[in-house]
């Protein structure tokens, strides 16, 4: 059972949830990122996700370790899909179980924020009027600290 997983197949949410439920979990916070059609005035037709797969899985695992330090009773599983995704498809599913609910919410939110900082996955938007890699790919701005926060 792989807790941190990059896949080109559709994500089964329940599979991810099942990885973290155990007899002393009382709460699971699940975050599901789906493909949204409208971003401001732009209409998305579909998305492509690309990853540096082995490093992305390592970074997901690192996020799980960071969560374990902050919330020792938490158990985390993350699956991110790559390839072509249609509107409403699930791009990422994060499940965090904890004995009590506050920790589950905080840890799940922490996980998605960290994914957007340190995991080498890229999204290309295919709009009705063009396409673009998301995330300032032109390099006109650098990361605020020259690197994602927390990367040594």
């Amino acid at each position: 059972m792989k807790l941190y997983n990059i896949t080109s197949e559709p994500i089964n949410n329940q599979d991810v949830i099942d990885k973290v439920i155990h007899h002393n979990s009382g709460a699971v916070s699940v975050f599901i990122g789906t493909v949204r059609e409208m971003t401001d005035e732009k209409k998305t037709r579909y998305l492509e996700y690309e990853a540096y797969v082995p490093m992305a899985e390592k970074q997901l695992e690192k996020i799980g370790e960071e969560i374990k330090v902050k919330w020792p009773d938490a158990k985390t599983a993350i699956t991110h899909r790559i390839g072509t995704l249609q509107i409403s498809d699930t791009a990422v599913t994060i499940a965090v179980s904890t004995p009590h609910r506050q920790d589950a919410f905080e840890a799940s939110r922490y996980a998605i924020e960290r994914i957007k900082e340190i995991v080498p996955i890229w999204k290309k938007e295919h709009y009705t009027d063009g396409e673009e890699w998301v995330g300032n790919q032109k390099g006109t701005e650098s990361y605020p600290l020259g690197h994602p926060e927390g990367v040594e």
Binding site: A51, Y52, A91
Partner: protein, 79 residues
């Protein structure tokens, strides 16, 4: 030989995800980046991309040896 990996807009500009470089002695990450530009020309965003050496983020002064993999990581946008 050092394997260079490019992703997203960098790969798109380069027309490839993989470039090989021959080095005789260990060199810095920054020198690898310069050699890459000499070999395939300027890539927009290369200077601000993060760099991973053997799947770990590193700084410009880290040392690259024969057999290593260097990946240029433009701003990530997963999730």
């Amino acid at each position: 030989m050092v394997q260079i990996l490019l992703f997203a807009s960098l790969a798109q500009q380069a027309g490839t995800q993989k470039v090989s470089l021959d080095i005789n002695d260990p060199v810095s990450v920054e020198q690898i980046r310069s050699k890459l530009q000499v070999k395939i020309g300027e890539l927009k965003g290369l200077e601000t991309a993060l760099i991973a050496l053997n799947e770990e983020y590193v700084g410009l002064t880290d040392e690259v040896k024969d057999g290593d993999t260097v990946a240029f990581i433009p701003p990530v946008s997963g999730g």
